[in-house]
């Protein structure tokens, strides 16, 4: 059996297959479909200091090979998470990683501080890339200066593994990755959704209440893959790759491009068991190609 475990800096994962924030609820939504403990980790729903109602309906528009969403970080706030959700999910026997978002640097820091003592949350994913909120979110992730500032502030209070989720809506994602690496990020995860829009031609109206939203699904995979490749050649910290992963081949491609681990997002909606199929597909691939460890594949694209 090939080794599947990987390390995100100090964080040991039993395998590189994880599920992306905003597509996997708190894990409980999927417990009827899969054995959650087989996953390398679960990135739970975007969490903010205060409760957020999210955006108005409609929040979703299907596109060719993907979808646009404009959920807008609907969540009950970090205190609710700590007191009411965490107790129900802490025994999943996989890493629970909380995706942290905010409108100000102080928000990010205050939200993070409430998560430090949770034993089964060994890492947070700093979301500086949500395209669906008016303030904060993506605004932090689209300039090196603001990305560095928020990472620096959170790093100063958070001793555990700090993953920063990058926005693809930038001219050069490597620059942002370098900026957050230099402020002490342990890892970068990429990419979040691409800003897009959809129009109803008959009604002459936008399909989303917010007009624009975040595009995800297999339609973004080639761009996400290219960005992982670029960032891999720019930074030294491990990369968590995502963007339209639907099967094990996609996952292997991201690892070859430089990802140490991967997150499965939108395709969980179509096949709630896909994460386990991908895990088994990776195992089979490693056996077939006689690799001793999945780490032997990271960035090993032959060019």
């Amino acid at each position: 059996m090939a080794q599947l475990n990987v390390k995100i800096n100090n964080l040991e994962l039993k395998n590189p297959v994880m599920t992306a924030s905003g597509t996997f609820g708190y894990g409980t939504e999927y417990s009827d479909f899969i054995d959650l403990k087989r996953l390398g980790g679960i990135f739970v729903k975007g969490t903010t200091l205060e409760p957020r109602e999210g955006n108005a309906y409609p929040r979703m528009a299907e596109t060719a090979s993907g979808m646009l969403n404009a959920v807008g970080l609907q969540n009950k706030g970090v205190n609710y998470f700590v007191n009411h959700i965490y107790p129900n999910i802490k025994d999943f026997e996989t890493h629970i990683i909380v995706n942290v978002s905010g409108s100000t640097i102080d928000d990010y820091v205050a939200c993070t501080e409430k998560l430090i003592d949770l034993e089964k949350v060994p890492a947070i994913e700093l979301n500086i890339s949500c395209p669906n909120v008016k303030e904060g979110g993506m605004a932090f992730g689209t300039s090196c200066k603001s990305a560095a500032e928020v990472v620096k502030a959170v790093r100063s209070v958070y001793p555990k593994t700090l993953i920063v989720k990058l926005s693809p809506n930038v001219t050069d994602i490597s620059e942002i990755a370098l900026a957050v690496e230099s402020e002490g990020a342990d890892s970068v995860s990429l990419v979040n959704t691409f800003l897009g829009m959809a129009i109803d031609a008959e009604k002459r109206t936008p399909k989303l209440s917010t007009i624009t939203g975040g595009l995800s699904g297999p339609c973004i995979k080639p761009i996400a893959l290219r960005m992982v490749w670029e960032v891999f050649h720019a930074v030294k910290i491990p990369i968590i790759g995502m963007g339209g992963i639907c099967n094990w081949q996609d996952a292997i491609e991201f690892i070859l491009a430089g990802a140490t681990a991967i997150e499965i997002g939108t395709y969980n909606f179509i096949d709630p068991t896909v994460s386990i199929k991908i895990l088994e597909g990776i195992e089979n691939y490693l056996e077939r190609h006689h690799f001793n460890s999945v780490t032997d594949l990271i960035g090993q694209l032959e060019v």
């Binding site: 905003g22 597509t23 996997f24 609820g25 939504e29 999927y30 479909f33 729903k45 109602e53 999210g54 108005a56 309906y57 409609p58 929040r59 979703m60 528009a61 299907e62 596109t63 060719a64 090979s65 993907g66 979808m67 969403n69 959920v71 609907q74 699904g217 297999p218 939108t266 969980n268 909606f269 179509i270 096949d271 709630p272 068991t273």
Partner: protein, 258 residues
Amino acid sequence: MLDMIVRSNEQLNYHNYLLKVTPVTNVQLPEMNPGNFVQIEVKDSVNTFLRRPISVNFLDKQKNEMWLLVQDIGEGTHHICQTKENDQLNIILPLGNSFTIPSNLDLERRLLLIGGGVGTAPMLFLGKILKDKGFYPTFLLGGRSSQDLLQLDDFEEIGTVYCTTEDGTKGEQGFVTDHTILNHQHFDQIYTCGPKPMMMAVAKYARENEIECEVSLENLMACGFGACLCCIEKTTKGNLCTCTDGPVFNIKDLLWHN
């Protein structure tokens, strides 16, 4: 999640198809209740990415068959409607909550089931369950034209059926809420499913006449099981997911009157 085989696919009118499906492997279909829906995977369609939510039309436990009434309304549903006998479909089921079945101690309760267009689909399953419990349901079914009224024979086996059509080709001319039965008879409970303007009109009638009323919503959704938070409906209890908190809502909880 089950792989299902299409036992039959019958075209009921110009754009509605009745599929009867059963599990590929020898497993019993899970318990399902009226109001539940399923998510059907659409394969080989360039512009369709997500599953298609379809309400359960009927559950034939003896034959281990589920009936799905599907309207050919876009590329995704078109693919489903074009499936042939013995084709396979991957289906997530059962999803969502269900209509409230009144207590058996209250069999005199007068129940009105209002369906519009393909929204009549869950009313057949609901009517059958109510009849099996000892109730005698009344159906009020609406469509644009006589050919839009589906499965009338099945409904007539279960209860009394009244119809409206917009062109007057069957039943009374007009919308369901124009039907004279609403002036002549009193009902204690209304269940409805159909186009949103119709359900809003039914809800208004129910509110004005202080009748308990449940509606089945069909907000756009991605997953169907509470993960994506796309299908929210604003309610007195905040944003609720149509897929897991619904699709059936009591009108008292909705903000439609605002």
